[in-house]
């Protein structure tokens, strides 16, 4: 700490931190543009000017940029000094020379950092009389609009896109006052993190394109703290609604998880909420085979007409923990199935067993970013959990930060750290089926099908245990083992993508071997969906195959938010008696006897359990209307109708009922409905300036409906209440602070810039966070058996996933659909040649009864075929081997935009 005098007042600031960062941590209003908490300081915009005084006698001082000044003991500075204030005003006047006065039609209007800084700096009269420079904008794909005339040349976009996220196709062009930020030519921005440009740009150059199409001002949006439903990372989000449409998703800061950035699957993957094929009404299949919308009552009656004893429940990794729990309570544990295919369930169970054994840290994203040696074993995180890949990208800079520190370059001096470290990268080892988008960061890569990778993993564990640092071996396993054993913060990442428990076991063995070296090792085991761990921890007694057999035998299943056709072959599914609860029309719903309209995550309050087993509450953003209701309410209604004991009036009742055993920490999950801020205030979902409340439905009915009183949560459907930022982090519904209308206001909600939220980061970890987690249980380090290499000319079938399209809900989101490719297979070029199938040609996969497009990938081991899973039209892989043949009749179906993301 250093004692610093700012405008006559003493502050204790972090010594060595840059002064701008330190001032903002004190919540002082010091304007800035180019600095960004995650990107550091570059000193380009010159807005954060202050006066630096040599000592108490110095009345004149010297103008300095706060962002490039390290905090030092005894410093005396002024933000308010007239000369500094006048300079900042001048900087804005310069920036406004070319900025168009199109605020009324600009998507950024009302949440524009440039607007805020202009007002804060006091520039209000225009004196520049010259012409404004103009640009032609570019087509950047379905996610982002481009309006270059608004650019104020802060360089944040390229610093984020290239330096931080590793993108290649956005750059700064030109020079002087004609700087252009865009692509070399029109085209889809390739990075799966491009959407963050919307929030990184301080004005309206990069805008959320789907949002623009249904635009509302930020102050007219109703939002709530939520959690992304599109993968297992559990990034915190602000979905925002108006007129019953989910209009956009913005990042919700979480100090340990997503911090400032989302992936594009998360940002653009929520438009399924607005899908045409939403199930809006309860339906009962009539004798003619057609659904009849007879209302809730008729549907519940139809369900109650058959005995409850005959009911089984199929849960879902994409439904809330509460809905799954309610279903389990309804049908009984022995009749409850988590809804995962047997092989996936086995992998998830193996992962949870490893977590339960303890002995290592389960890292948050922030901890992943801090790792100094990483092994990614058999999980293509860039496609299954993109935000983890972005964190690993930051981890690869650990050595560069070390180099900078020893050269006396502060970590926030971004250009200095990058320039000094050049291409130095920390150890990163990637073992995968195919090439990945972080291979460029890797020290070494190794490839094969899942069993090969599991064997490799066991070899690494053995090498760590055998003191590989003594050996001179230079194979992948030995080199990786040496690097991991030598690291201070080693990290192993694996997952269930391959559905191979042996991979999980191998990863655990590596972690334990490193742990025995006395290292503080972290192990992240990634499941595939938002609540995979939550539903699996409920530990149902039925496997999916057993459940399906019971259904074949005539049992009646209540299928909760689960399209079984994505999990098993169609021939195994008999839904003639089934009750399906879902939000979207799926093949499963289409075949059911009764269909009940379920709320999406944005329309209900519930809990997801992420890859860390962090349980996180997402709150209802808006009411779905009509018959649509949260699944748990339907289940409760069914229970009541069937004479059950399910007595849950509110979501809090259900969460509380669930909070025992491993779920006991749920008691501390998030504020319940009774929570109030200070003077008995609720937390408003709407900003102060929310407009048109009395008129927004007048085209439907001139009578203003009574605002819903939210009895479920501490949030209110109102602009009244308190959102000052000191409430628990779990109930921050949007960020806004006087003078700070943009997302930059987040610093007013943090304990310090980049630190935890003022009221604490949300969520509770269910497993593995116990203090001093002990030695692993003996059975977690056993040598798992692994399948042997395939024979007889068949190809080893490896599951691969695609960031856009492999996830069910986001694939139903219109913008993501535009980026979703047709089913494909990845082949080594030699194998493709053998099959006489070129890039873009089709091969028939006998076992799936379908053809898929060939993509060549040198990284795929000969004899292995990567089969993209989850894409619309893709078959469900259920065998370890497949037979391939060229398909001369194949017609390539993918659009241009859908193919922009290469696999690696």
């Amino acid at each position: 700490m250093a004692r610093v005098n700012i405008d006559g007042k003493d502050y204790d600031l972090e010594a060595g931190q840059n002064l701008l960062h330190a001032c903002l941590s004190e919540r002082l209003d010091l304007p800035y543009f180019c600095w960004h908490p995650a990107l550091g300081a570059v000193g380009s915009c010159r807005l954060c000017a202050i006066i630096d005084y040599a000592d108490e006698a110095d009345q004149r001082g010297r103008l300095q940029m706060a962002c490039t000044m390290p905090v030092r003991e005894g410093m005396r500075v002024s933000i308010a000094a007239p000369f500094a204030a006048d300079f900042r005003k001048q900087v804005i006047e310069w920036l406004m020379e070319n900025h168009p006065h199109d605020c009324p039609v600009c998507e950024e209007g009302g949440e524009c950092h440039l607007q805020d800084m202009t007002v804060m700096a006091g520039h209000s009269m225009r004196r520049y009389a010259g012409r404004k420079r103009t640009w032609e904008n570019q087509y950047l794909g379905p996610f982002l609009g481009h309006e270059m005339n608004r650019c104020i040349t802060c360089y944040r976009c390229v610093r984020y896109y290239r330096d931080y996220a590793g993108g290649k196709d956005l750059d700064a062009f030109g020079s002087r006052s004609r700087m252009f930020f865009g692509r070399q030519e029109d085209g889809v921005l390739e990075s799966e993190f491009a959407g963050n440009l919307v929030e990184v740009c301080p004005t309206g150059v990069f805008t959320d394109k789907p949002f623009s199409q249904v635009y509302s001002r930020k102050w007219d949006l109703q939002s709530a703290p939520s959690v992304c439903p599109n993968c297992a990372v559990g990034c915190n989000t602000f979905p925002a609604e108006r007129y019953g449409l989910l209009k956009r998703v913005h990042n919700r800061y979480h100090g340990q998880l997503n911090r400032y950035f989302l992936c594009d699957r998360g940002r653009y993957g929520s438009h399924f909420v607005n899908h045409d094929k939403r199930i809006r009404q309860a339906g009962v299949r009539g004798p003619d085979g057609v659904f009849e919308a007879g209302g809730e009552d008729a549907a519940l009656e139809a369900i109650a007409a058959r005995p409850r004893a005959d009911l089984i429940g199929i849960g879902s990794p994409r439904a809330s923990l509460e809905a799954n729990f309610a279903l389990k309570q309804l049908v009984g544990g022995a009749n409850f199935c988590a809804g995962l295919a047997d092989d996936e369930a086995a992998a998830v169970r193996a992962a949870l067993d490893v977590y339960r054994g303890g002995g290592f840290r389960i890292p948050s994203l922030a901890e992943i970013e801090q790792a100094d040696a990483v092994l990614v074993l058999g999980e293509d995180i860039a496609n299954t959990a993109p935000r983890v890949a972005l964190a690993v990208r930051q981890a690869s800079r650990a050595v560069a930060f070390d180099m900078a520190a020893s050269a006396g370059i502060p970590s926030w001096q971004d250009a200095g750290v990058r320039g000094h470290g050049q291409s130095a990268k920390s150890p990163l080892f990637i073992a995968s089926v195919a090439s990945t988008r972080i291979d460029e960061l890797a020290t070494a890569t190794s490839h094969g099908a899942a069993p090969d990778l599991a064997r490799l993993g066991f070899a690494i564990a053995a090498a760590v245990g055998a003191d590989a640092e003594q050996s001179g071996a230079d194979d992948f396993a030995a080199v990786a083992a040496r690097a991991l054993a030598a690291a201070e913060r080693p990290l192993v990442i694996a997952g269930t993508e391959a559905r191979e428990p042996a991979l999980i076991q191998a990863a655990a063995n590596i972690a334990h071997a490193i742990k025995r070296k006395g290292r503080d090792v972290a192990l992240a085991l990634m499941p595939m969906e938002a609540n995979s761990y939550g539903v699996a921890m409920l530990d149902g007694g039925l496997t999916l195959s057993a459940a399906l057999q019971r259904m074949q035998d005539g049992a009646r299943a209540l299928v909760l938010e689960n399209d079984l056709h994505r999990r098993v072959a169609k021939t195994q599914i008999e839904l003639g008696n089934a009750v399906v609860l879902d939000a979207l029309e799926t093949p499963t719903a289409d075949a059911a006897a009764v269909v009940l309209p379920a709320a999406t995550y944005a329309e209900q309050t519930g809990t997801f359990v992420n890859y860390e087993t962090r349980a996180q509450r997402f709150y209802q953003v808006f009411e779905p209307g009509g018959e649509v209701a949260p699944s748990w309410r339907w289940i409760a209604a069914i229970a009541r109708r069937c004479g059950g004991e399910a007595d849950w009036a509110h979501i809090d009742d259900l969460t509380a009922a669930c909070a025992s055993g491993e779920f006991a920490p749920l008691a501390e999950l998030a504020p319940g409905a009774g929570f109030r801020v200070r003077a008995n205030a609720k937390v408003p979902r709407q900003p102060h300036r929310y407009s048109g409340r009395t008129a927004m439905r007048a085209n439907l009915d001139i009578h203003e409906p009574k605002a819903t009183v939210d009895e479920e949560t501490p949030l209110a459907y109102s602009m009244e209440g308190e959102n000052a930022g000191d409430q628990p982090g779990a109930v921050v519904p949007y960020v806004w602070s006087p003078g700070w209308n943009s997302n930059q206001a987040v610093f007013k909600f943090q304990q310090e810039v980049g630190g935890p939220l003022a009221g604490g980061d949300p969520g509770v970890c269910l497993l593995g966070r116990a203090e001093g987690a002990g030695e692993p249980a003996a059975d977690t380090v056993r040598q798992a058996s692994v399948p042997q290499p395939l024979q007889n000319g068949a190809y080893a079938a490896a599951r691969v996933h695609h960031v856009f399209g492999s996830d069910e809900l986001s694939a139903a989101s219109a913008p993501i659909l535009e980026r979703t490719p047709a089913p494909y297979v990845l082949l080594n070029p030699a194998d493709a040649k053998k099959l006489q199938a070129a890039e873009g040609a089709g091969v028939r996969i006998d076992e799936l009864g379908m053809s898929a497009e060939v993509r060549l990938d040198n990284a795929v081991r000969p004899g292995v075929v990567g089969i993209a899973q989850g894409l619309p039209g893709a078959g469900v892989l259920a065998t370890a081997a497949v037979h391939l043949a060229a398909d001369p009749d194949f017609v390539r179906a993918s659009s241009g935009d859908a193919n922009v993301i290469a696999r690696g």
Partner: protein
């Protein structure tokens, strides 16, 4: 003065033209480098250069020996590569001194760089040369080829164990590449924009490695210092500064050109004796003493010595030492407009005051020059000049330098600016 009093171009005059390796050596060429490498420790070389008080000839006047001393040596060095870079990106308007050296005495630069490389322990050097300098490039490349052929560059120079590889990098052409860190970025293939300092290049320069960047003329001063010693070198200068300096004059003088003179020679002597005074019918109104990015001096300053301290005390900078003389037929407003146009165009676009301030200044000057000036414009120009001109206000010193002729022009030629605004026309047209 004798040829040895003019170590930079004395031999060129004596030889009657450009020096090849043979003629360069006939004037004692490479004796300095040979002596340094075979009989002096690197630290001794640095101490000698410090003692000689050689100051950077690129314009900033930073003590060269001190700069070299910042490079980690011995135990402080990590054993990785170090780089020596020559800034030959001479783009300052009115400046043509390095060109003369490159065209006529290229071995002097090569020799100076060999000594510099030995002093800091650099294994590789680059000459970053202005893209338009075709003949200087050819001359220098020929000299480098000759030096390689003779074993003066490459492996085991002068039979020692010292290796030094020297390459020319031809600039793609931006004025900002003359800024040493922008130069390094350009050399690395990145955008030519300056870097945040610290770290300074001696700690983290080209490719993140310790790097020294010196001007052509600076390196060219080194061989004679080695040969003749610090005392001799100090004695060459007139005032506080040491050595000789290439001074140039352009404008409506009788004999525009370039001369090697004792550093500290008075301006009047340079203009009136060497440049032959003003042409008939023209009166001197102002002088930009060190290139386009320095403040105007006027007639009252002519007796000042052209050295770093004196010119700075008068409110300007010696800069490159190549003067632009403005006579009374030239409109000061138009001259400022011309200069600000150049500097606005050459802004790298990184920081706001430079990128957006200079074009506004240019636009206002254009309006004033073309009779569209209005009340308040001069105050607005002054305000811009004040805010652009603070050396910590901008990211690098491009804009503060760029605004110097305008800031001083508004002071010395105020009546001209006012007449433009008042009469709505340029009195010089």
């Amino acid at each position: 003065m004798t040829a040895t009093d003019r170590p930079l171009i004395g031999p060129v005059d004596a030889a009657g033209g450009a020096l090849d390796l043979v003629s360069y050596e006939s004037y004692g060429g490479y004796a300095g480098a040979r002596a340094a490498l075979t009989s002096m420790a690197p630290a001794e070389v640095i101490d000698l250069v410090k003692e000689a008080n050689l100051r950077g000839r690129g314009g900033a006047g930073f003590p060269t020996g001190m700069k070299w001393g910042f490079v980690p040596q011995g135990d402080a060095a990590d054993g990785g590569p170090k780089y020596l870079v020559c800034n030959a990106d001479e783009m300052e308007p009115g400046t043509f001194k390095d060109r003369f050296l490159l065209e006529n005495n290229p071995h002097l630069l090569v020799e100076g760089m060999i000594v510099g490389a030995w002093a800091i322990g650099a294994g590789r050097g680059y000459v970053f040369i202005r893209g338009e300098y075709h003949k200087p490039y050819r001359q220098l490349q020929r000299a480098i080829d000759e030096a390689y052929a003779k074993g003066y560059l490459g492996r085991g120079i002068f039979g020692t164990g010292f290796d030094f590889e020297l390459r020319i990098h031809r600039s793609a052409g931006r004025y900002i590449c003359g800024e040493e860190t922008a130069l390094l970025n350009a050399l690395e293939g990145k955008r030519a924009q300056p870097r945040q300092k610290p770290p300074f290049p001696p700690a983290s320069g080209a490719w993140g490695r310790p790097t020294i960047v010196n001007n052509v003329e600076t390196f060219c001063n080194v061989p004679a210092i080695i040969r003749n010693g610090a005392q001799w070198y100090q004695a060459l200068g007139i005032g506080d500064d040491a050595g000789t300096k290439l001074y140039g004059v352009s404008g409506r003088v009788n004999n525009p050109g370039l001369w090697e003179l004792p550093i500290g020679t008075p301006i009047r002597e340079i203009i009136e004796e060497h440049a032959g005074g003003m042409r008939d019918g023209y009166r001197l109104r102002g002088v930009l003493p060190g290139g386009a990015s320095t403040d105007f001096l006027v007639a009252e300053h002519l007796d000042l010595a052209m050295d770093y301290g004196t010119i700075q005390a008068a409110g300007s900078r010696m800069g490159t030492g190549t003067m632009i003389v403005m006579d009374d037929s030239i409109c000061p407003v138009d001259m400022c407009r011309n200069l600000e146009h150049f500097f606005a165009q050459e802004s790298c676009g990184f920081c706001t005051p430079c990128r957006d301030g200079l074009p506004w200044v240019e636009q206002m000057l254009t309006d004033i020059e073309e009779g569209r000036g209005k009340e308040g414009d001069l105050e607005l120009l002054e305000r811009n000049a004040m805010f652009i001109g603070g050396v910590t206000n901008t990211f690098c010193l491009h804009a503060p330098g760029a605004i110097e002729p305008l800031a001083s022009g508004l002071r010395y030629f105020r009546e001209d600016f006012e007449a433009h605004v008042k009469t709505g026309r340029c009195p010089y047209r």
